[in-house]
Amino acid sequence: MSAGSTALIARRSIRARWGRTLAIAAAITAGVSFVVGSFVLADSLRATFTDLFQELNEQVDLEVRSVQEFDSDQVREPIDLTIADSVRRIEGVEAVEPALQRYAQLVDDSGDVVTTQGPSLGVSWEADDGLEGVTIKDGQPPRGPDQLAIDKATADREDLAVGDVVTYITDTGQHEGTITATLGLGSGDSFGGAALVALDLETALVNFGADGKVDSIAIKVEDGASIADVQVAVAETIPAGAEVVTGEEVAEEAADEITQFIDIFGTGLLIFAFITAFVSAFIINNVFQITIGQRLRELALLRAVGASGKQVRRMISLEALAIGIISTVLGVGGGVLVARLLIIAFDAAGAGFPSTSTVLALRTIVMAALVGVGITVLSVVIPARHASRIPPVAAMRPELGFVALRTRQLVTGTILTIAGAVMFIVGLFATPGGNIGLIVLAGGGAVMLFLGVASVSSTIARPVTRVIGWPIEKLFKVPGALARQNVARAPRRTSSSAAALMIGVSLVSGTAVFASSLRSTLVDTLENAISADYIVTDQNFQGLSPIVADTLAEVPELDAVTPIRGVAGLVDGDQKNFGAVNPIAFEKLVDPDLRAGSIADLEIDEVLVHGDPAGDLDLVVGSEIDVTYQNGVSSTLTVAGIYADATFGNWLISIDTLEAVSDAPARDFFVIAKLADGVDAADGDVAVRTAMEAFPQANVETNAEFLASQEAQINQLLIIITMLLAFAILIAILGISITLALGVFERTREIGLLRAVGMNKRQIRRSVRWEAVIVSAFGAIVGIVLGTFLGVVLSLAVPDDVISKLAFNPLIIGLILISAVVAGLFAAVYPSFKASNMDVLDAIATE
């Protein structure tokens, strides 16, 4: 048996069916580009930040900082500045630079806060040490309480220059100073998108309210001295609770922290990339299945003149392989391009990445090949097997060949659907095997569900499309009736080409259910659990300085004000997040559905526990728990109450309890407040907003405004997911289009006859167009049903403090249906043009 002939025929077949080949290649290329783009983007960002932190810490040999008992996302406790003096005296130490990083916000001339995409940072900066890799772009280092430096990117954007006097806000209030320098990081003008206010150490200590403490102390070791020896000497000098680590470790840790975000971001993108690739698999499978039907006689002829079934199968697989390889190559190129474009777009949006390299890892190429070639070849396994079963006699009697192409899929489909649903549910609720189990079971279950529903849906395709087509037939008479019949005559094809759209739609509608449920839970919470009139959040998501809450507490129109702060602690070896509040105010603002004990009486070293962990740990009012905080401090907390509403987490302590154990700079997640009895809402509003004018970063919202902005965020989630699915949906539309075009090709003679007996071009176009609409509406309906199921399961699986109430949004469902119809119209453009522009005589003469 020769590989030559199969390769020859495969090659010719690709060439002879350019349109089909291009469409398939486009679908695969899109999927591969997405996969490659996700990897390249994440890898490039990772490399950039790893390099950046290494560069930043290049001059730093050692760093002294406080010990952290366990990893959490909280900042380290500050250490005493006096440590710097004792370290400086150690032999071999060349320079020592204490560093402080706090909150500082520039205010422009009109009193508006200067916002950036990144955080607003205040830092201490001693230019002499030059340890941080900071470069002066213009001017002289700031010295003394009246001077500051800012980053060049912000200066340029806000039209500020050396010599300008500006106002900035820190934890201690408003300050004024003259800009003496603009700064950059290495050759860049920006500090990763952050807006920077740099002060000399002494000024920083005062203006940031650091109280004689700094975040860390960087050490440069003299040339020739052993870093390890100095590290040992420093370790002996510094007090308990502080540690000395190498600059490399610090750089690695800092990079790791960013890398975690990049990982999450990259993984999120990858999930959608794989969805896109998965969708393209449906298209490839369907297109091959159809073309094999069309090539039935050709394949049978091959069998008749002596090709074995294996050769036929190999020929089809070779065709797919060739398309897969070409698409993979194109996809790798496309992916790198997409990643570059995204980085440029981020940069333009103000992310301020330092010069980013493009990292194309071997792993990325391997994944691209696995996805591109793997999916293509896997997609044609079944079509190729069917092709190999075509009997040679079908060369003369094609009707005998179609039996070989028929599939019994109801049983397999049903099994897949049920198994997939069970896996999905078990994965989300029982979560055996932790996160990996969750991903394997829920993800694998969803994939099986999609495959199962796609194959089962061919059995319901006929009745459902007949119903969808009914109004179309009534409206458009003959073309409508033709559209309806054409959809119904190949239910397998209809369901397969609709399946790709079904996947996209089900993910969107599943997210819609999830989002609606999130919203309804939020509404419920705001209506029932929280009686606050104002919710103050931070625009830049850095957490609010405590002065915001303190200022609000002074407003006479307000009756109760409490910040919500957080701290992590180990209870029984497990990390728990404690919420810290002002108990007296909190009681007036929030009803946590207390089952035992009271809130207002919450004393120092007492804790309120949610019913679930209380049940797990056998806690009752009066029980004692030992907590170890991140800074190593331990304390014993007494359970003062048990509550049932998890809106504010599972563990609540007072601010006093928190401040007694931690010196870390306080950051409030948000502040909630309530108007005093008898105060007019309008008057209160004026009072609150006036008080907050000094804090432009504080975002003051009434209960209703807060709900609206949260809703906007929820809607944004929906929009982002829909946008990430855009590729998949486009591929689905392409799939419907090509299926339809192949169908038109098959019906050439039939269409010729219709034209011959008097159907005009417009009517032909109309019938093809509405056929597309019926197919896409069918996909959308199956997708909405499946997506609603997925969304409901997911919503039920997440904890009650996130979603406690299911909700559906008929508006979104309507919108999805309308979009599906539009998608169908879009998909029909090419096939309907093709159908209407056939030469009537040629068409009739076609065999």
């Binding site: 020769s2 020859l8 002596g306 074995s308 040679p392």
Partner: protein
């Protein structure tokens, strides 16, 4: 397959002891061949206990009206379709004893085909189509012979054209050349001229007869055209799935007369 072990190939039907011809060899045949399609009330008996054999180096035509079973007989003889009961053989090989692989090999090496339409792979050139049985087997074939065949059918200047660029007659000539190229033991032709005008058709038939006379080929052809049948050495008449008669060295008028007598 519920075929019982078949008897050995019988002597050619007709004149095994013909005085004018040497004792001939049987190239192919069927023994008690029956073929049923469908089940229950819709069951059709396409072949009904047919026993027939075909001489080597002869041009045999199978004639019969539509639905007579003539095509089914050809398909089963050629190993394209399987019998319900009975046996078919090519040379001394019983087709029922072969698995799909061996049957494929047999088709590729021992059998040539010419169909009424759709004889060629549309994406391959004329030459590639002609060489297809050989390339499928990974062989070059007998180059000199293939060139001779190509020249004989007059395709030298059409070798690099696709089927869509060839006329119906040219396409059939390519099909004939392909059937001859691998020097098969036997060529089966299914209405090879059914789609051609009479002049082109007679060219093809003439060429097929020359292949038998001059090159010693064996050809079995199904047709319903008395003129086509007149090119054959022998005509077998089939009706209702049975062999109902035969004629040697037929002329078209004889065939027409014979057909008239049936009605």
């Amino acid at each position: 397959m519920n075929t019982p072990v078949p008897p050995p190939p019988p002597a050619p039907l007709g004149r095994p002891d013909s005085p004018t011809e040497p004792a001939s060899v049987t190239a192919a045949g069927a023994v008690n061949a029956s073929k049923l399609y469908g089940v229950g009330d819709t069951q059709i008996r396409a072949l009904d206990d047919v026993t027939v054999s075909f001489e080597a180096k002869k041009f045999t035509a199978i004639m019969g009206p539509s639905g007579s079973g003539k095509s089914t007989l050809l398909h089963c003889l050629a190993g394209l379709d399987t019998l319900t009961t009975g046996a078919t053989y090519i040379g001394d090989t019983y087709l029922a004893s072969l698995d799909d692989k061996a049957l494929t090999e047999l088709r590729r090496t021992k059998i040539g085909f010419i169909f009424q339409t759709f004889n060629l792979i549309p994406t391959l050139t004329a030459e590639e189509n002609i060489r297809l049985p050989m390339t499928l087997g990974g062989e070059a074939g007998d180059t000199a012979w293939i060139e001779q065949v190509i020249t004989t059918v007059g395709l030298d200047d059409r070798l690099h054209h696709r089927p869509s660029e060839l006329s119906g007659g040219q396409q059939q000539r390519v099909a004939v050349a392909r059937a001859l190229a691998s020097r098969p033991q036997i060529i089966f032709a299914d209405e090879p001229t059914g789609n051609l005008d009479s002049i082109t058709g007679s060219e093809i038939l003439d060429f097929m007869r020359r292949a038998v006379k001059e090159l010693g080929q064996t050809i079995v052809m199904v047709t319903h055209d008395p003129i086509a049948a007149s090119y054959a050495d022998r005509v077998i008449f089939v009706g209702d799935g049975k062999v109902i008669g035969e004629m040697l060295d037929p002329t078209s008028d004889q065939v027409i007369d014979h057909l008239k007598n049936w009605d």
